[in-house]
Symmetry: C2
Subunit: 485 residues, 2 copies
């Protein structure tokens, strides 16, 4: 299960959609360090809802969320490495423990303290929550020992090492980049990125325009491009970023015939959306319900051990994290226009044929200026697609770790369960199903086009980036498991 | 109690600050239509937390919140008018009821249905909550009768009349202004307002710049000027808007000596803030804890009757609402720069002496570019001050309604209870106290200057606007009570 997993649990309960058997009960029994799995049963169910509440309510800020979940799974990996016959932590080299110490109890205690130290560092405003999390397991949040001969010390060392190594990794977690001393803003941009377009005027129809977002009751805000500095953030794989490139988004050059053609493709896709496509788009838009749930499904259906679960979760998080660095470098390089801007630019107030908004179906007389994509466009530039790249990375890493392209995941979508068109879509109960990881990643990318948040080339050229990073990450994690890193 | 009152209850419980005796118990007894006061005990406690949750989490969007609370108190006023010896509703003329019908039960039922009809109209996304609110009082949400001979029909008529008259009042509640058919955005600006400055560049140092806001964990958004169309919204008093004017904000003209002088005043105030000033600024920044709580205090200390309570609450809401129309007209006319922009413009990265941020006290070496006001600057332009005008209107209306300038309100501020500097400010238990409404309004306005969100002239020239509207509103409400409207 990825860091996205537990929030997926909560989301699934709230929305009434498919919930794997592994999902926690509403009133779970007290956690037992001797028999439970702390990361799965305590850490993530505490962390993820809070992350989404405080960091990214609309889950549109994948870079920050990913960084937090990656640091947590990293801390788990490093905390149990000393109990493994060969594994080596990424940011700590703790003496290997006797095999008799490799108990579930010790691994639970070590991963709990490791998580706690990372959380205090990365989400300090919620310290009270993290203390309560420890106490709920019967663990003392004030035990700060760093003796490498017991699980408390091992967990503390692992967590503190991850936090210290990562807090100045380029993401500006401390808000100190640029010699800021006073009123530091955590994760603030320090690259000086400013869009050439405003939310009110498209000065250059080839470049990114911030969207105006609303909670639908009167509060309007303008997007700021999320974390431009992700492009300068240290990768786990020490990637040679210069070798990861996308061709120029030539179809987004205003004035050329391809610009209008690309717009017409998006409008045609909008007009042609099926219930299957709409529900697929909604699922992948929510990284909890897609990347989180599919990892839950894997943990359960493949009956992963504690170690395998931690390794797999760390693997898919790092694969997506490093992919984000690559993708953000390209996003900021091209700064390309999103469909919502280009549609208005080409057609203005002229009527077009497209989806007419929630519950309206396809209409032939919607002024282009009133068109909206099926999904809210995220707060970063168009090209290449983050989602398409993340899913490609996740799929490639999963294929290699699990040794097969087989997936076999079915997600029922009850009649009317749409978040965008509640009570209307789908018109009858339907199933989404993926036989293979290949199909999973394919639909993930395509759904961004169906939903009007990406042009085709953004998806096409994102996939190879994700696949390459997924492959490298698999090698990276395997080397650390084998102790060859 | 204003519409702000009940959220004040919740806020006070959460923050542990002063709570009047009137505050609801944590586990209130079941509401009794024969003995309770529905607006106070059920309607507001249901509505206001939801308004703040869905409409304006940071309570920075006073115009929209005010409009909702004004429509609700309007519906109450109109719903009980038929039971009053002389009163006449604003948007309905329901036949006067026999005096024997003027029971607490009937007034409770009428105000409940009136509230319900307004809420379905103005906050339709929360229909389930409003239905539940009615059911909690044992009332049938599906009883839509409009017979003027019983309290259900009277309440429905009153609420529907307010909703129908107000839904096209210029605030664009339906999102239909500008012939928008598809994907209407409720309360969207239709005036075409666009700031001349971006969040990233101050093109004109005399004009408003949107601020960048953050939840402090990585999500950054840019302000959009809230509801420019408030200036075109129908007032209750049929105000001649041309007669409400402010002189040009000459001190905000870049390049003139007064520009720097005005900036230096703000920095000096920032450097000199006392605990008393900080806590006063926090109180008035939260319209729940200030305008809401003082009205609660009045209801309780003056032992207002049901009718007096509804009249007073309607009065202070309309006073602030009409004031907002006048203030927004001037805000949009002048579009003046806020202190945070001007401070950076004058001093750039040069060190200044000012408050150094939460817990830092006054420092002498803060680069001006790192300075922040004690309070977050709200999402609208500088001149004149909304808060100063609202408080002046509220105070004037209260003076006239209550027949005295006497107030006598004390608000204890426990040591360390600051929201901005928790655990630090105030350094010991202190009391805030106002003997008179005059002192109340004076501190309200000044606190915006101490806290760095306004220059002095914005406060000075806001007050007369609010006082005049407060006076007119008193006449307006009195005329409706006397049936002379």
């Amino acid at each position: 299960m990825t860091g996205f997993g537990a929030a997926a649990l909560a989301a699934s309960k709230a929305s009434g959609v498919f919930t794997p058997d592994i999902v926690l009960a509403d009133d779970p029994p007290p956690f037992d360090l001797n028999t439970g799995v702390a990361p799965l049963e305590v850490i993530i169910p505490t962390v993820v809802p809070l992350v989404f509440q405080r960091v990214s309510p609309a889950a549109m800020d994948a870079t920050i969320v990913l960084r937090i979940t990656t640091m947590i799974t990293n801390a788990w990996f490093d905390a149990i490495a000393p109990y493994h016959p060969t594994a080596k932590g990424v940011y700590s080299s703790i003496a290997r423990q006797p095999q008799s110490e490799a108990t579930l109890f010790n691994k639970n205690v070590a991963t709990a303290y490791a998580s706690y130290r990372v959380l205090l560092n990365v989400l300090p405003a919620s310290t009270g929550v993290w203390r309560g999390m420890m106490q709920s397991m019967g663990l003392d949040p004030d035990d700060g020992q760093q003796n490498a001969d017991n699980p408390i010390g091992i967990g503390n060392i692992a967590g503190i090492s991850v936090a210290e190594e990562r807090q100045n990794d380029g993401m500006n977690q401390l808000g100190n980049e640029g010699d800021v001393i006073y009123n530091r803003k955590r994760f603030a941009d320090y690259t000086g990125y400013a869009p050439v377009n405003t939310a009110y005027q498209l000065n250059d129809a080839g470049r990114w325009q911030p969207d105006i977002v609303t909670m639908d009751e009167g509060l309007f805000l303008v997007q700021q491009h999320v974390t431009p500095q992700m492009q300068f953030t240290e990768t786990y794989n020490n990637l040679n970023l210069q070798s990861f490139n996308t061709p120029p988004p030539n179809k987004s050059k205003p004035g050329l015939p391809n610009y209008k053609k690309q717009v017409d493709e998006v409008l045609a896709a909008s007009a042609g959306m099926t219930d299957q496509q709409k529900m697929t788009a909604e699922l992948y838009d929510n990284k909890l319900l897609s990347l989180g749930f599919v990892a839950l499904f894997i943990a359960q259906s493949r009956q992963l051990t504690f170690d395998e679960f931690v390794q797999y979760d760390f693997l898919v998080n790092v694969a997506a994290f490093d992919t984000a660095v690559v993708v953000w470098k390209e996003k900021l390089k091209w700064d390309a226009v999103r469909p919502f801007s280009a549609v208005r630019h080409v057609y203005g107030d002229s009527p077009v044929t497209a989806w007419g908004g929630p519950g309206q179906g396809t209409v032939s007389d919607i002024p282009a200026s009133q068109w909206r994509p099926y999904l809210q466009t995220a707060d970063h530039s168009e090209y290449p697609s983050g989602s398409a790249a993340f899913c490609a990375a996740h799929a490639e890493a999963s294929r290699l770790f699990l040794g097969s392209d087989a997936l076999g995941w079915t997600v029922p979508q009850p009649m009317g369960s749409s978040r965008i068109e509640p009570g209307v879509t789908p018109q009858s109960d339907i199933d989404l199903h993926w036989d293979t990881w290949t199909a999973f990643a394919e639909d993930c990318g395509n759904s961004r086009f169906w939903a009007g948040v990406h042009f085709r080339p953004s998806i096409q050229f994102a996939r190879p980036l994700g696949r390459r990073v997924g492959e490298k990450t698999y090698e990276f994690v395997q080397a650390h498991i084998a102790g060859n890193a």
